[in-house]
C-alpha cells in the first residue's frame, strides 16, 4: 500500500471539516468560529513578524482597527442618501451638521475594501520604515507600538462625532445591497472568512519558503551579520510588517462583519497584547500554530470569561507567564520533531508504559 503523508491527510481533513462547518456545528458556534478565524488571519501576521522576523509588535490592534473601521464606515453609509444630507445615526446624535469630508469616499464599496487592505498595510509599512531605518528594534519597537495602540484608541474615543466614540460603529444591516443579518448571510460570511484564512495560510507558507523567508529569518537571528554580508535588512522587515498590517486589517474587517460592531475596546493596549498571547500559546514559528492558538485561547476565553470573569484575567496572566517561560515554541512545538517541547512530550509518552509495567 502507498504510504500517506500524515501532514497532508490531516490538512485535507481540516479543510473539508472547515468548509462543512455550517452543517456540523450550531449557528452560535459557527458565528464564534467565524470571528475567531477572522482573528487568526491577524495572528498569522504576528507569526510572520514576531516568529520569523523577530519584531514584536504590541500594536496590532491599530491595524486591526483601521481595517475594521474602514469597512464599518462603508456599512454605516450603505442605504443612506448622502447627497440628500443623510448622516450616520451617531453623527446626528452628536449634533454634526454635515458629513465630514473623509467619510465621503467610503460610499463606494470597492474603495472601502481597498482601504481595508491598503490603509493598514501602508501605514504599518511606513511606520515601521521610520523605525527600522534608524535601527530601532526589539524592546524599543515593542514599546513604541504599544504607545501607538494607546494613542489610537484614545483618539477614537475622544473624536466622538467622527468615529462614534466609545461605542464605536455598530448597527448595520446591508453590504452591497445584501442583507447581512440572516443566517444564510452568516454562512456566506463564514465561508468568505474561511477561504481567506486558507489563502493567507498558503500565501505565507509560500512566502516563508522562498528566499525572502530565508532572509527574514537570517535578519532575525543576526541582523548585523546580514549587514556584514552586504544585504540591507530594512526592506525585508518593512515588507513583513506591512503584510502583517494588511492581514490585521483584513481580519479586522471580517471580524466587524461577523460581530456587527467595531469599537475602541477591540483595538487598544490590552487587546493588542492579547493578540500576541494567541500566537505565543499556539507557536510563534509555526503557521498552523498561530491559527490553532487563536482558536484555542478565544474559545477558552468565551467559556471561562462569561462564567468567571476574574478567573479569566488570572488565567490570561498565567498563560502569558507559562507559555513564554516553558513553551517558547507553543503548542505546535509539541508536534515539531526535534524541538524541546517535542522531546519533553516524547519522554512523557515513552515513560508511561514503563510506569504501568512497574
Amino acid at each position: 500500500m502507498k504510504k500517506f503523508d500524515p501532514k497532508l491527510i490531516s490538512g485535507i481533513i481540516i479543510i473539508i471539516l472547515g468548509a462543512l462547518a455550517p452543517w456540523i456545528i450550531s449557528q452560535y458556534e459557527l458565528s464564534l468560529l467565524g470571528r475567531f478565524l477572522a482573528l487568526s488571519i491577524l495572528a498569522m501576521g504576528i507569526m510572520l513578524t514576531w516568529g520569523e522576523a523577530g519584531i514584536l509588535s504590541l500594536g496590532q490592534g491599530v491595524f486591526f482597527g483601521l481595517g475594521g473601521y474602514a469597512l464599518a464606515m462603508h456599512l454605516k453609509l450603505e442605504g443612506l442618501n448622502v447627497a440628500n444630507g443623510d448622516m450616520p445615526d451617531f453623527m446626528v446624535w452628536s449634533g454634526v451638521s454635515a458629513l465630514p469630508k473623509f467619510w465621503y469616499p467610503f460610499q463606494s464599496g470597492i474603495f472601502s475594501i481597498a482601504c481595508v487592505v491598503l490603509v493598514p498595510g501602508l501605514f504599518a509599512a511606513g511606520f515601521s520604515w521610520l523605525m527600522f531605518r534608524r535601527r530601532v528594534g526589539g524592546v524599543y519597537f515593542a514599546l513604541i507600538t504599544q504607545a501607538l495602540a494607546l494613542a489610537f484608541s484614545t483618539l477614537l474615543i475622544s473624536q466622538q462625532s467622527l468615529t462614534g466614540g466609545f461605542n464605536g460603529l455598530t448597527d448595520y444591516s446591508t453590504l452591497f445591497g445584501y442583507d447581512i443579518t440572516t443566517s444564510e448571510a452568516a454562512r456566506v460570511i463564514y465561508w468568505v472568512t474561511f477561504v481567506i484564512v486558507v489563502i493567507a495560510f498558503f500565501f505565507l507558507k509560500w512566502l516563508l519558503g522562498s528566499r525572502y523567508g530565508v532572509m527574514l529569518r537570517a535578519t532575525r537571528d543576526g541582523e548585523n551579520r546580514v549587514r556584514f554580508l552586504g544585504h540591507n535588512p530594512v526592506p525585508y522587515k518593512v515588507v513583513a510588517f506591512g503584510i502583517a498590517g494588511a492581514l490585521a486589517g483584513i481580519g479586522g474587517a471580517l471580524f466587524t462583519l461577523h460581530s456587527g460592531v467595531v469599537s475602541p475596546a477591540l483595538v487598544g493596549v490590552v487587546p493588542s497584547i492579547e493578540m500576541v498571547v494567541w500566537v505565543a500559546v499556539g507557536g510563534r514559528n509555526i503557521l498552523w500554530g498561530a491559527i490553532a492558538g487563536t482558536l484555542l485561547v478565544n474559545f477558552a476565553k468565551d467559556q471561562i470569561s462569561s462564567a468567571f470573569p476574574s478567573l479569566w484575567l488570572y488565567g490570561l496572566g498565567a498563560l502569558f507567564i507559562l507559555a513564554v517561560s516553558f513553551l517558547p515554541m507553543g503548542i505546535a512545538g509539541l508536534f515539531r520533531p526535534g524541538s524541546g517541547e517535542e522531546r519533553v512530550m516524547r519522554r512523557i509518552i515513552s515513560r508511561r508504559p514503563l510506569k504501568t509495567a512497574e
Binding site: 514576531w50 523577530g54 514584536l56 504590541l58 511606520f127 521610520l130 523605525m131 534608524r134 535601527r135 530601532v136 528594534g137 526589539g138 524592546v139 524599543y140 515593542a142 514599546l143 513604541i144 504599544q146 504607545a147 501607538l148 494607546l150 494613542a151 484614545t154 483618539l155 474615543i157 475622544s158 473624536q159 543576526g222 541582523e223 548585523n224 493596549v269 497584547i273 500576541v276 498571547v277 505565543a280 476574574s310 484575567l313 488570572y314 490570561l316 496572566g317 498565567a318 498563560l319 502569558f320 507567564i321 513564554v324 517561560s325 517558547p328
Partner: protein, 302 residues
C-alpha cells in the same frame, strides 16, 4: 489670570508631571541599562505603592501618616520587585521580548488581585492638612498664579530621590559596581563583581522608587487597580528618549515629555496631545535613535 501667569502655571505643571515620570521611569531605565529587559509590571508597582499608602493611613492616621507611608511603600514595592526579578525576569533575561510578555502577564495578575482585594472603583487617600494649601501670587507680573502644595511636594520628593540615587551611583562602591556592569557585564564579572546580585539590587531599588511614586500618585487622585497603566506608557517613552541606563538622560527625557505634554495641552485636548507626543518621539528617534544621553560602549548590539 494673566497670559504669562497661565503659561508659567503650565510650565510648573509640566515640571511636576515630569517629576512623576522620572520616579516611574528611573527603575525601568536602570534595569534596562543593566539587563536590556523592560518590566511591564512596573506600572503595578506604582499601584502597589498607592495601596500601601492607603493601608498605612488606616493604621497611622494623622498628619504624619504620609511620611510613614513613603518608606513602607518603598520597602513593600522593593520586596515584590526582588521577588519578581528572582522568579521571572532573571530566568528570561536572555530573551528580552519574552520577558516583556511574561511581565505583562504578571501585571494582569497583580491588577486583578488588586481588583479582588480593594474593589474596582478605587480608594481615596486624603492629603494631610499641611499639604492642603496653595501658594498664590497676588501681585507682580505673575498675578493669579496658583501652585498647589501637593505639586510642590512632588517636586521636592523627586529632587531628593534623584539626588539620593545620584549619590549611590556616583559615590558608593555599589554604584561603582552598577556602572561597571552597565558598561561591560562580562569584564565586570571577571573582575569579581557579582553581576547577578547587582541586577537584583538595582531592580528592586527601581521598583521601590516606583512604589514611592505611587504614594505621591495617591495624593493626586484615587488609587485604582489600573492607576499604573496611565503613567507607564509615558514612562516607557521616557526610557526610549533617555538612552540606556543613564540617570541624567532619564531626567532630561522626563522633563521633555512632561513639558511637551503640559505645553501642548494649552492648544489641543489630551488625546490629541498623546498622539502628538508619540509623533514627537518618532521624529526625535529619526535624529537621535540612541536617546538623549549615550553611554559609550564598543559592544555591537544584536
Amino acid at each position: 489670570m494673566g497670559e504669562s501667569a497661565f503659561l508659567v502655571g503650565q510650565i510648573f505643571n509640566g515640571f511636576s508631571v515630569a517629576s512623576l515620570f522620572v520616579l516611574a521611569a528611573l527603575g525601568l531605565a536602570l534595569s534596562f541599562g543593566l539587563m536590556r529587559v523592560i518590566n511591564m509590571a512596573h506600572g503595578e508597582m506604582l499601584m502597589l505603592g498607592g495601596y500601601l499608602a492607603y493601608m498605612t493611613l488606616q493604621v497611622v492616621p494623622g498628619p504624619l501618616g504620609i511620611i510613614v507611608a513613603m518608606p513602607v511603600a518603598f520597602l513593600g514595592a522593593a520586596l515584590i520587585g526582588a521577588l519578581l526579578e528572582w522568579s521571572v525576569i532573571h530566568r528570561l533575561s536572555a530573551r528580552p521580548l519574552d520577558t516583556l510578555l511574561a511581565t505583562w502577564g504578571v501585571s494582569l495578575v497583580l491588577q486583578q488581585a488588586a481588583r479582588n482585594l480593594f474593589g474596582a472603583i478605587g480608594v481615596e487617600v486624603t492629603a494631610p492638612s499641611w499639604l492642603n494649601h496653595v501658594v498664590q501670587l497676588h501681585t507682580g507680573p505673575l498675578e493669579g498664579l496658583t501652585l498647589p502644595d501637593t505639586r510642590l511636594f512632588i517636586l521636592v520628593v523627586a529632587g531628593i530621590v534623584l539626588a539620593g540615587i545620584a549619590l549611590i551611583l556616583n559615590k558608593t562602591r555599589l554604584g561603582l559596581y552598577v556602572r561597571a556592569v552597565n558598561q561591560d557585564r562580562s569584564t565586570a564579572a571577571a573582575m569579581g563583581v557579582n553581576a547577578r546580585l547587582i541586577d537584583l539590587m538595582v531592580f528592586s531599588l527601581g521598583t521601590g522608587v516606583a512604589g514611592l511614586a505611587g504614594v505621591i500618585l495617591a495624593l493626586l487622585g484615587p488609587v485604582t487597580p489600573t492607576v499604573g497603566q496611565s503613567y507607564i506608557v509615558p514612562a516607557f517613552l521616557v526610557v526610549i528618549l533617555g538612552g540606556l541606563g543613564s540617570l541624567v538622560g532619564t531626567t532630561i527625557a522626563s522633563l521633555i515629555v512632561g513639558l511637551f505634554t503640559a505645553l501642548i495641552e494649552i492648544f489641543v485636548d489630551v488625546s490629541v496631545a498623546q498622539v502628538l507626543l508619540l509623533v514627537f518621539v518618532i521624529v526625535f528617534i529619526q535624529f537621535r535613535p540612541q536617546g538623549v544621553i549615550t553611554v559609550r560602549t564598543r559592544a555591537l548590539e544584536g
